[in-house]
């Protein structure tokens, strides 16, 4: 998990801040910056708006710190404040987007069948050195309906667990699992055909990548 939360450190910081050591807020919030920003990016879909909303949300977190009861993790609580900030802004700009708030209901029937493949060559993480691959992955996330985008962002990108994701988004753990499953199926379907080009080429007999046709021809000749 990225920046795994440290509850004792957080509790110490919060006690200190409320007792007047305000500068500790910098340390308290630092591990939450990335998930807060990307959750707001997922909701608002604009970098400048997300940054602005993140700053406002973080001031709200600071001003409401005395209300944090330690029943959830600090990061979960902080993310739910950020989500409210994002949704509040979205409501104000309602006409901007169509798939904003409840365009999709939970039991939405959709086609969540994966892209059917007969073989897969792994795309290694080193391939991310190509900016193009990262861009393809970002576009695919951007193309997801919001309810799936938020879940996949917290679970697979920020690597938070099911429980924390559910609490941060105000949904049940069951809904997190269903949405994550659908999100991954939609991503696999849109990405599988495009990612193939990023897999390392396996040199064949004549120096180019072997195709299934080549392989089956070889099988027959054995």
């Amino acid at each position: 998990m990225k920046n795994a939360p440290n509850p004792e450190f957080e509790a110490d910081c919060i006690r200190g801040i409320l007792a007047g050591e305000k500068h500790l807020f910098h340390d308290l919030i630092r591990p939450c910056e990335r998930p807060i920003f990307f959750l707001l990016m997922s909701i608002l879909r604009n970098e400048a708006d997300a940054e602005d909303a993140a700053q406002e949300a973080i001031v709200k977190i600071y001003r409401n710190l005395h209300l944090f009861r330690g029943e959830s993790q600090f990061r979960t609580w902080a993310l739910s404040i950020a989500r409210n900030e994002g949704l509040g802004r979205l409501r104000k700009a309602e006409t901007r987007r169509e798939d904003s708030l409840d365009a999709l209901s939970e039991d939405q029937t959709g086609d969540f069948t994966p892209a059917i493949l007969t073989s897969w060559r792994e795309v290694p993480n080193q391939a991310l050195e190509q900016k193009e691959l990262a861009a393809v992955l970002r576009q695919a996330i951007d193309g997801l309906p919001e309810i799936y985008r938020n879940v996949v962002l917290l679970r697979d990108i920020e690597e938070m667990d099911v429980r924390e994701t559910a609490a941060a988004l105000g949904i049940t753990e069951g809904a997190v699992k269903v949405r994550l499953h659908r999100a991954r199926a939609l991503l696999q379907r849109s990405l599988a055909p495009r990612l193939k080009g990023f897999a390392p080429k396996r040199a064949g007999l004549f120096g180019w990548a072997r195709t299934r046709k080549d392989e089956s021809r070889e099988d027959k000749s054995r």
Partner: protein, 86 residues
Amino acid sequence: MRIDCKHVWDHISAYIDGEVDAQLRAEIDKHLETCEICSAVLDSTRNVVVLYADDRVFEMPAGFSERLHRFIDKELKSNFDLTGAE
């Protein structure tokens, strides 16, 4: 009991997260041994999940953290009453 491809796809996300019970896992594993389609679907889905976990996919805007902490500093100097007293 033999399970079909659709059944495997329905559980692929839970399978990747290690959230299927032992019996279902064994059934899926057995299916995967002979089904190249489901194996490729599983491998590609897992590959997608692994790639997204890489920090290079989503990078923070340059200077975000510096701007944020300057903004926080302004707030910390504002003498806002943190005790919640009206």
